[in-house]
Amino acid sequence: MNKKRFSPLRNEGVQMLLASLLCILGGLLIGFVVLLIIEPSGAFEAIIAILKNFFRFSRVNQRLKYLGQTLVRTAPLLMCSLSVLFAYKVGMFNIGAAGQYVAGACATLFCALYLKMPWWACMMAAMAAGALLGAISGALKTFRNVNVVISGIMLNWIMLYVTNTVLSLPGIKNPMSPYTIQIRGNSPTALLPQMGLQKLFNNEKSVTIAIPIAIIMAIVVWVILNKTKFGYELKATGYNYHAAKYCGMKENRNIILTMMIAGALAGMGASLLYLTGIEEWETTISSVPAMGFNGIAVAFLGGLSPIGSILAAYFIQHITLGGGNVDLSVYCAQISSLISSLIIFLCAFVGFFRLTMQNYLRKRDEAAAAKAQVKKGGRPS
C-alpha cells in the first residue's frame, strides 16, 4: 500500500467506540427481553424509563436538578473506573476497587463526623485509606504471588465489616437509624465547596466541586499514562513484566505503587460522594456497595481510556438511576444492575470483535491488492 487510505474503521478509537456501542445495545436488548418476560405489557415503558432517567420530568428546572444529582453520583463512579483502568494498564485486575472505595468511605466519614476535619483533610484520609488497601493487594502480589483478584475480594469483605464497625461508633452513627449522621448539620466544614456550581443545576445542593475534580483526575490519569516516563514504565511493566525488569525498571515497586494509586483513586471517589452530603452510610449493609464493581463496567465500556470512562461513567450512572423509575409494583430497580453486568460480560468479547474487524479489513485489503497485482501481471511477493 503506497498511500494510506483514510478509513474511520481502521482507527483504534473508532473501533473501540463501535464495540462499546454494540455492548450497550446488546445489554439493553437482553435487558428488554427480561422485562418482556416479567411482564410484556409495560416492558417498553420500563426500558424507556431507564433510558430517560431525569428526562421524564417535563420542567427544565427539575431536569437540571436531577441531572445535577446524576452527575454527583457519576463522579465517584468515574473515580472507581479510573482506579480499575489504571491498575489494568499495569496488568492487574483491580476488583478490590470496591473495597478501596469502602475504605475511603470509612476514613472520610470518620474524619468528617468524629474528628470534624475540613473537607480536604477528609479527602486526603480517604485517599490514604484506599492506597493502604491497594498497597496490601500489590504487596501480596509481588512478594507472595497472591492473585490480585482473590486478595481484592477478601479485602472487600474485610473492609465492609471494618467500616460497619467503625461507623457504628457513637457520635458517627445516628442512634435512631442504621445510617451515619448527616454531615450537613454536624460538620459543615467537611462539605465540599460548591463554588457556585449549584447555580448551573437549579441550586441542587449536592452539586460541588466533586464533579470537576473527577474530570480533572481523568485527564491527569490520561496524561500520566500517555505522556510521562512513569506511565511509560507502568505500561511496559503491564505488557511485559520480564522486559521491565530486564531494563532496570523497579518492576515490583511499580506494581505496588500502581495499586496504591489505584486504591487512592477509588478512596477519593468515596469522599467525592459522601462529602457532598447526598447520602449517608448504612451501617447494617451486608454486601459490598456496587460502586466499585460498576467501576469495572465503566472502565471496560470506556475502552480502558480515561476519557472514554467519563462518557461511560455517565451512561452507567444514568441507567442505574433510571432503574429506580420503572414501575416498582411490577419490575425492580435491579434491572439496571442486570444491564450493567450484561454490558461487562459483552465487553469481554471486545477483543474478539476487534480481531474480527481487523481480519475483515485485512482480507479486503488483500483482495484489493491481489486484484491490483493481477492487473499488473506480477506475482505477489
Binding site: V34, I38, E39, F93, I95, L140, R144, N145, V146, N147, V149, I150, S151, I153, M154, L155, N156, W157, I158, Y161, V162, N164, T165, S286, S287, F293, I296, A297, F300, L328, S329, V330, Y331, C332, Q334, I335, S337, L338, S340, S341, L342, I344, F345, C347, A348, F349, G351, F352
Partner: protein
Amino acid sequence: MILLTQYTLLFASVLMLVALGGCFSERSGVINIGLEGIMVIGALGGALVMKFLPVEFGGAPVMVLATLIASALSGMIFSLLLAVAAINFKADQTITGTAMNMLATAAATVAVKAMNTAASGGSDVSSDIIYTRARDTFIVRFGTFEFNWFMLFALIALVLSYIILYKLRFGLRLRACGEHPQAADSVGINVYKMRYAGVLISGILGGIGGIVYITAGVSSWKFENGVAGFGFLALAVMIFGQWKPLKIALAALLFGFFRALGNVYTGFDILKNLNLPSTVYNMLPYIISLIVLALTSKNSLAPKAEGIPYDKGSR
C-alpha cells in the same frame, strides 16, 4: 461442640464442592472466577424447587434429589457463559468471570423480585425465598447432631473427583489440556471439548455448592446478597489445596471450621468472654484465607496453561 462440628462439616462440604468444581475447570485450563455467580444461580435453581415442589410429593428422597438436580443443572447452564466466552471467543477469563458474578446476583434478584411481586400483586417486593419445610427433608437428626444429606454428597463428589482425575482416561486428558494443550492436541485430544467438560463440571459442582450454602443454617434466603464471597473462599481453598482433591478436602475442613465459628462462637464461654464484636468472626474466614494464601502462593502449583485461551493456530 456438636453444633460446631455440624456447621464445620456443612461449610466444609460447600467449600469442597465448589473448590472441586474450580479444580476441574482450572485443571482443564480455564480460570473460573465466576464460581461465586455459579453458586448463586445454582442456589436459585435449587431454592425454586424447594419452594414449589410439595414436600408430600415423594417425601424426602424426591425432594433431596430434585433439589440436587435442579441446582446442578442451573449451575451448569450458567457456566456455559464462561465456556462459550473463554473457549470459543477467547475472551479474558477474569473479566468474564467477574461479569458472571455480577450478572448472577442481578439476575437472581430480578427473577425472585419479579416472582414475589407477581405472586403478591405488588405488596411483596423482597428478594427472599422461603423454604422451611423442604429444608427439613435434607436433615436426619442423630441426637442433637443434624446430619445433612449434602454432607454425604460432598463426600461422594470427593471420591468421584479423585477417581475421575487420576484413574480414568478422561482425567488424564483433562489434566493434559490444562498443562500443555498443544501436546494434548498433537495426540488427537480435542482441547476445546475437554475444556468445555471442565467448565461444565465446575458449573455442576458450583451449583450444588450454592444450594448447600444457602440451606446450611437458615430457612430463607435473600438473593440480593448473593453468596457473600463464598465462591472466592472456595477458590482460596482450591489454591491452598494445590488443585488436588484430597488436599482440597483438608483445606475445606480448615476454612469450614473458621466459618462455622462465626455462627456458633456464642456457644463457647472462652470466645464469648473475649468480648469481640461479632464482625470479627464474620471477617475471620476472609482474613484466614488471605494469610493462608500469602503463605502458600509463592510456589504455585497451578496448571501451567490456565487462563491462556487455546488457539489451534498458534503452536
